[in-house]
Amino acid sequence: MNEAQELRVKRIENGTVIDHITAGQALNVLKILGIPDSSQGIVSVLLNSPGKFGIKDVVKIENRELNVREVDRIALIAPNATINIIRNFNVSQKKKVHIPTFVEGVVRCVNNNCISNSNEPVTSKFDVTVDGNLRLRCAYCGRSIVEDIAKHLL
C-alpha cells in the first residue's frame, strides 16, 4: 500500500486485513461476515484501490481475528482474497481463502418453492463445487446457483 493510500486508511495495530477482494465486493464481504452486527471494533473499507493486479477492495477489521471457517465463505464472491492477521502492526499470519465444500446460512435458495425459504426452523445449506463455474447446490431442493452469487446473499 503506497503512502497516498495510507493516508486514506491507516495501518491497524491488531485485527484482520482482508486484501485482494474482487473490486466492488467489499460490502458483500462484510455482509457475509455479519459486520457490523458481529464486530464492535472499527472497520475500514477501501473500494476500487489500485493494486499490482488491477483494482481491488480492502477491508480492515480492528481488534478481531477472523477464523478460517468464517473467512473461507468470502471465497464464494472474492476467490482471490487474502487474509492477514495483524498483531502489533505486523502480519503474523497470511493465507489465501479457500472455496469451502459446504456453506450454511450464507445464501438464499433461488427456488421460491424450496422448503428452506419457508418459515421452517432451518438455515439454508449448499454443497459447493467448482466445475469450470462455481456452483452452489441447495441441500434441500437441489437447485443450483451458478451466477451472481452475491445477489443471493442472506
Binding site: 418453492n113 419457508s118 426452523p121 432451518v122 441441500a139 431442493c141 437441489g142
Partner: protein
C-alpha cells in the same frame, strides 16, 4: 434429531463406507443417493414380496409397527399402495387425515409436525408441495422418512417401481428405452433416466422442442454411461425399443391451446402405431393418463401401466421391510 444415516448427496460416499448395504433406519429421500447395488437389493426384495402383495401368502413381518402417512397433497396410487404395503406385512397405518382438521391448519411447521409424529410411528411417509420437504423432515425425524413426492423435486419410490416394472416385464441389462412426453419438467423421467444410466441403457428422448430434456441432464446421463439420442416423433423410435415410457403433457405448460393440441396429438400412442413394434415391446405410464394412450392399447400385450401401478405395492413393501429392519440387507 436424525436417524443414524441420512441418504443425501453430500454424504454419498460416506454411507457406503459406514453403512454398506444396510437400509435399517435410513431415510429414502432421492434416487441420487442410490448405488446400483442398493437398487438391486430393493428390486430383489420386491420380487420376494410379490406373492404377499397379491394376497397369495400372508406375512406378519411388520406386526406391531406403525407407519404414519402424511400427505399434504392429494394422491391416489402412492398413498394407497403405501397403506396396502403396510397392511399386507401385518403393520398398521396412522393417517394424518384432513389437513384442515390438523395442527397444520393452525400454522404448525413441518419440523414440529415431524417431531410430534415420530413419537407415534416407526416410519413416516411424506408427500409435501415444497421441494426439499422430505430432506428437512429427515433432519428432524428419529424414524425413517420415505419421500412420496416433494413438489417438483424427487419421488424415489415411483422411480423404483418403474425400474421394477422394467425388470419384471422386460429387462434392465442392455435395455433400449424411449421416453415420450414432457421431458423438461417431469421429475419422474429425470430420476428414472439417472437410475437407468447405472445400467448403461440406450435412451431415446421423444418430446416437442419446448419440452425437451434439459441439456445439463442429458450431459450428466452420458457421463454416467447412458447412450442418449433425441427424436421428435414416436413413429421413428417405436420399432426399435424394448420399453416405451409415456408421460402426460400438461396443458398449462402451453400459452396457446392450439399448440398444446398439436403436440399432444403428435405424442399419442394408438393400436395402429404399434403395428410394427417388437412383439415384446412394453408400454409404461406413471398414470394418470389423459389421452396420450388410446384405450385400444389397453388390451394389447404391450400395455403394462396397470400392472406398473400394482408393482408399487411390492416395491413399497420391500422399502418398508428394509428401512424398518424386518429384512437384513
Amino acid at each position: 434429531m436424525s436417524a443414524n444415516g441420512i441418504l443425501s448427496v453430500n454424504i454419498y460416499l460416506m454411507q457406503f463406507l459406514y453403512y454398506p448395504m444396510k437400509f435399517k433406519g435410513h431415510h429414502i429421500i432421492s434416487m441420487t443417493s442410490f448405488s446400483r447395488d442398493m437398487i438391486d437389493t430393493i428390486l430383489e426384495t420386491a420380487e420376494r414380496m410379490e406373492p404377499i402383495a397379491l394376497g397369495k401368502q400372508r406375512s406378519d413381518m411388520l406386526i406391531g409397527k406403525v407407519l404414519a402417512v402424511l400427505f399434504f397433497e392429494p394422491s391416489t396410487r402412492t398413498r394407497m399402495s403405501f397403506e396396502t404395503a403396510m397392511y399386507r406385512l401385518g403393520g398398521n397405518v396412522l393417517n394424518l387425515g384432513s389437513i384442515d382438521a390438523s395442527s397444520i391448519a393452525k400454522g404448525e411447521t413441518l419440523a414440529d409436525t415431524i417431531r410430534v409424529v415420530d413419537g407415534y410411528a416407526d416410519a413416516i411417509v411424506l408427500r409435501h408441495p415444497k421441494e426439499g420437504a422430505a430432506r428437512l423432515a429427515s433432519e428432524f425425524s428419529a424414524v425413517p422418512v420415505l419421500n412420496a413426492g416433494d413438489g417438483a423435486g424427487h419421488h424415489p419410490t415411483q422411480t423404483l417401481l418403474d425400474l421394477y416394472t422394467i425388470k419384471r416385464e422386460s429387462h434392465l441389462e442392455g435395455l433400449k428405452i424411449a421416453l415420450a412426453g414432457d421431458l423438461k419438467y417431469g421429475r419422474t423421467v429425470h430420476s428414472l433416466c439417472y437410475a437407468l444410466s447405472l445400467y448403461g441403457a440406450e435412451i431415446t428422448l421423444i418430446s416437442p422442442m419446448e419440452l425437451r430434456m434439459p441439456e445439463e441432464i442429458i450431459s450428466d446421463l452420458e457421463k454416467r454411461g447412458a447412450k442418449v439420442t433425441e427424436a421428435d416423433s414416436i413413429e421413428s423410435a417405436i420399432n426399435d425399443v424394448d420399453v416405451l415410457y409415456m408421460t402426460r403433457i400438461q396443458k398449462e405448460r402451453f400459452l396457446d391451446p392450439a399448440e398444446y393440441e398439436k403436440v399432444a396429438n403428435r405424442l399419442k400412442i394408438t393400436p395402429e402405431l404399434l403395428a410394427d413394434a417388437k412383439p415384446e415391446l412394453k408400454i409404461l405410464h406413471p398414470l394418470p393418463r389423459v389421452n396420450e394412450i388410446h384405450p385400444g392399447v389397453d388390451g394389447t400385450p404391450h400395455a403394462c401401466y396397470f400392472r406398473q401401478a400394482f408393482y408399487g405395492v411390492p416395491v413399497r413393501m420391500a422399502l418398508l421391510a428394509l428401512v424398518l429392519g424386518a429384512i437384513d440387507s
